[in-house]
């Protein structure tokens, strides 16, 4: 059997109608893309919400959809790494891949999963810990760039520039802090690099949970769509603008409502909210990095200490997951068990983002009261 | 002493009549896969007899024995043990001892010889070990109450087949003949009404064989045990058994060893080429 690029190039024009065919990899990407595209393009989600990402096995229709699609929207930051070979397999040379996180500076270091006891006093001084995070973030990122050369060729400088544009204060702080700690953390940096040498999820991919970065993602997707389908540029602009406005309103709401609290430490089960935490000066304490991790007693001991020290009112699980650890911890400590939605599954309606994030906001408020 | 009538009295089993054959097989037909390995075989075993089943390889001897014990389903016919159809035998089942032709087991099984022998012991109210004084019948028997009797019975059984020195050995470490002896001890550990032995003595040495026949003879006479054994050793059979069944799918003949093992009958059972053996003997 010969490879048949002809068969494929015949097939694509036949089946694709005049509208742009867009595939979003998983829920948040679908929500953003759908919001931008509206009715101007066909948007499909590849991984149905609720499917465990690693249980995902493609159907021929899925691959065919990729083969015939014009645009694929993915979160990037290795979130969809396991899809790479499937996308290759579809052999769609005309496919435009929009990497929604390409303008975003990822967090590579872990959130303080393990919360060092001796430092717990200083931890109020979030500036420092944040700075540490940033320096690691950059380190890992630059490394990632070297290897992922082909697809996203944006220079590092441009990226950070873009970042500082949209949020000048924050960016300044970032750069300054990064410089300040670069020398001190030298030894640690090497460890960071060793993790970077391993290219699966070296960066935390949960970008979409920060409304400001979500705006960035929406913009990236919008630009990508416009490039792929200039005819509908206005529609995309308009839809995106409306959605961004909503996101900004959401951001404002978050800032305003969370600003009222002084102790802003919250405990999540896995490390899904570092971007959100960073945005609103919250302190996320994650018990484990990824949900499949096993626990050591010290992890829990430190969690308990954090709860006591910061008088945390709530622990956060994820909706639909019966998390027994959080249940028994909340019973032991007499704190509430709330849910914080990481939006990896949910309803296929662009407005769902706001519903879920508002619920998250309320949940956080109860924790800080 | 003859076949223990008291047993029947303690166990007021619906189907046990005063004078029944220990085993009654009627018109039994058994399939192995699609092959009728045993066809319409009928016979009876009176209590206190030692009956041998002989026949060439593949004659259906093991099949017959397994069907009688309920290990193989049968297509037609009926089997009654102690006057009961197989399915309703219930608690009397432990009064039947069995040694299969191939005892297949996991060589790494962590089980000692004395434990294996002890597994033959059933802690049952009705158990009326003839070797030991029977205890009051109205009392519930709890496991620990019989433990000294059990230990004694195990020791005695092991001594009878001369494996007492192997008592703490793992069963996976026994030689072929030692294992056969241990299985015999397993059957001897308590009183049985029927002993079904499928080539149980193949692989046991001369001495063990002779001892065991002597023992069987004693148990048969003194305690009314009934024995059904499959064997290829016609010499031993004709010397020690009361009756012989010649099987070759059908029951070719049955009767006293002298008549059943007559050259003509053997010819019928083993086929025309059997004469060769007769010559050599």
């Amino acid at each position: 059997s010969t490879s048949t690029p002809d068969a494929q190039s015949q097939a694509s024009p036949e089946t694709s109608d005049e509208r742009l065919q867009v595939i979003a990899t998983f829920l948040p990407m679908y929500l953003f893309t759908k919001a931008i595209a509206g009715d101007a393009a066909d948007v499909e989600v590849l991984i149905q919400p609720g499917t465990e990402v690693h249980d995902y096995q493609s159907t021929p229709e899925d691959v065919r959809a990729i083969a015939e699609a014009d645009v694929l929207v993915q979160n990037g930051l290795n979130m969809e790494e396991f899809l790479d070979s499937t996308i290759d397999s579809a052999q769609n040379s005309e496919l435009v891949v929009i990497n929604a996180s390409e303008n975003i500076d990822p967090v590579g270091e872990l959130s303080p999963v393990v919360f060092p006891t001796e430092e717990s006093g200083e931890a109020h001084d979030h500036g420092e810990s944040e700075a540490a995070e940033h320096s690691h973030g950059e380190e890992t990122h630059s490394h990632g760039e070297e290897t992922a050369a082909g697809e996203a060729d944006h220079s590092h400088g441009e990226e950070t520039a873009a970042a500082s544009e949209s949020d000048p204060d924050h960016a300044e702080e970032t750069v300054a802090a990064g410089e300040a700690t670069a020398a001190d953390d030298h030894a640690h940096d090497h460890e960071g690099e060793s993790a970077g040498g391993f290219h699966t999820h070296a960066e935390n991919p949960h970008v979409w949970l920060d409304p400001v970065l979500a705006v960035r993602q929406v913009e990236t997707i919008r630009d990508g769509l416009i490039e792929a389908d200039p005819n509908n540029a206005e529609t995309y602009e308009a839809n995106a603008a409306a959605y961004i406005e909503e996101l900004q309103a959401l951001n404002a709401e978050f800032e305003q409502r969370l600003g009222a609290y002084s102790d802003r430490t919250f405990i999540s089960f896995h490390d899904a909210f570092p971007y959100l935490a960073e945005r609103y000066d919250l302190q996320q304490v994650a018990i484990v990095a990824i949900p499949e991790d096993s626990l050591s007693p010290t992890d829990i001991q430190q969690t308990v200490e954090v709860v006591k020290e910061y008088d945390v009112k709530a622990l956060f699980g994820e909706p639909g997951v019966d998390n027994r650890l959080l249940q028994s911890l909340s019973q032991d400590l007499g704190v509430e068990l709330q849910t914080l939605d990481s939006l990896e599954s949910g309803e296929l309606d662009p407005q769902y983002y706001f519903t879920a994030m508002n619920q998250n906001l309320e949940a956080l408020e109860t924790a800080f009261q | 002493m003859n076949s223990d009538p008291p047993d029947a009295a303690i166990a007021p089993h619906l189907c046990s009549k005063p004078v029944t054959p220990v085993l009654k097989v009627e018109n039994l037909t058994v399939y192995q896969g699609t092959y009728a390995a045993v066809e319409s075989v009928s016979f009876e075993l009176p209590a206190g007899t030692n009956t041998a089943v002989v026949g060439p390889n593949g004659a259906g001897k093991s099949t017959l024995v397994q069907a009688i014990l309920g290990l193989l389903p049968f297509a037609a016919g009926s089997v009654e043990i102690l006057g009961c159809p197989l399915a309703r035998l219930g608690n009397l089942r432990y009064q039947v001892g069995y040694i299969p032709q191939n005892f297949i087991f996991d060589r790494g099984f962590p089980l000692s010889v004395s434990e294996l022998v002890g597994l033959g012991w059933v802690n049952h109210r009705l158990s009326n070990s003839s070797q030991l004084p029977s205890f009051p019948r109205w009392r519930m028997v709890l496991p620990w109450q019989t433990s000294y009797r059990k230990a004694a019975a195990i020791a005695q059984a092991m001594e009878r087949v001369d494996v007492y020195h192997l008592r703490d050995r793992a069963i996976g470490n026994l030689s072929g003949g030692q294992l056969k002896r241990v299985l015999l001890a397993h059957c001897l550990v308590m009183s049985r009404r029927l002993l079904v032995l499928d080539e149980a003595l193949a692989g046991v040495d001369l001495q063990g064989e002779a001892d065991f026949y002597t023992l069987l003879n004693q148990l048969k006479r003194e305690h009314g045990w009934t024995v059904l054994q499959v064997s290829h050793d016609l010499d031993m059979v004709s010397r020690h058994c009361d009756r012989v069944l010649c099987l070759n799918r059908h029951l070719v003949c049955q009767g006293q060893p002298e008549e059943a093992l007559s050259p003509q009958n053997l010819l019928n059972a083993y086929g025309p080429s059997f004469s060769r053996y007769q010559h050599q003997h």
Binding site: T51 | F103, N173
Partner: protein
């Protein structure tokens, strides 16, 4: 050390150690028969195959927790039925049913629209997350199993050793086998939710196999298996406190080390006596 003592004062740590001990007992007891009846992969297979049960639960909108137990039971019964009906080895049948169920599960999940939550999440218990209800359930299960298995110990051994002889001795072989698988399924269902699939599988297999390496008697085998189960739980929990390792895997590692040590010991023993005799 200091830290360990502090840790031991936390209720979660106390619960985890208690849970480890109970599971060590339960696993050690059931494991004796699990290893001998070649069901080593039972819990592992059930754990994976549970996807189909959970997916069905979501599709039929039944509460998820209520699905695990019936599914585990059905899985166990199907496996046993197929073992009875075929000439295949148990591990073979387990593997087939596991694959079939997992494939069905994956296909079923594609029919689930907009479900929120992690389907397999239900299986990822962690011994540090064990709660009092789990402890009580496990304790009850251990009590029930030990009563059932010890009262019928002779029958269980005989039917494991050789089914033909067991049947002739009047043991209801099928009944006992099915009861055992039901007991096993119950235990697996309860403990997978409590401590996760890795640990359940290890508790059921490793202590009993270790005991099997050096035992020539069933009673010794049983006791050793129980003792090893309990000891490795305690040692594993303490090690995980001292070295700050994940607790579940630490226990498994301790069990594995015990296994290797016993293996080495029994080899060495044999070697020694051989060289002794040679002279």
């Amino acid at each position: 050390m200091q830290n360990l003592i502090e840790l031991l004062q936390f209720p979660f740590m106390q619960r985890a150690i208690a849970g480890g001990i109970l599971l060590g007992l339960l696993g050690g007891l059931l494991g004796c028969f699990v290893t001998l009846r070649q069901l080593s992969f039972f819990s592992h297979a059930v754990g994976h195959a549970a996807l189909v049960g959970i997916a069905l639960g979501v599709l039929l909108q039944l509460p998820l927790n209520s699905m695990l137990l019936p599914f585990t039971l059905v899985f166990g019964l199907v496996v046993l039925y197929l073992i009875d009906q075929t000439d295949l080895w148990s591990d073979n049948v387990l593997s087939i049913v596991l694959s079939g169920a997992l494939a069905t599960g994956v296909i079923l999940t594609s029919f689930i629209q907009g479900y929120r939550g992690n389907l397999m999440g239900i299986l990822f218990g962690d011994i540090l997350a064990i709660n009092y209800a789990d402890l009580i359930l496990t304790g009850l299960l251990f009590l029930g199993s030990s009563i059932f298995l010890l009262l019928t110990l002779d029958q269980q051994i005989l039917l494991t050793l050789n089914q033909a002889i067991a049947k002739v001795q009047g043991i209801s072989v099928q009944l006992h086998r099915y009861l055992f698988v039901i007991l096993l399924s119950l235990s697996v269902a309860v403990s997978i939710k409590a401590v996760g699939i890795l640990l359940v599988n290890a508790f059921l297999v490793i202590p009993a196999s270790t005991a099997k390496l050096v035992s020539h008697q069933f009673t010794k085998f049983l006791w050793l298996s129980l003792i090893l189960g309990v000891l490795s739980s305690i040692a594993g929990m303490l090690a995980s406190g001292v070295f700050d390792f994940a607790s579940g895997p630490s226990i498994v590692l301790v069990q594995f080390i015990f296994f290797l040590a016993f293996l080495g010991f029994s080899k060495l023993n044999r070697k020694n006596s051989e060289t002794l005799k040679k002279r």
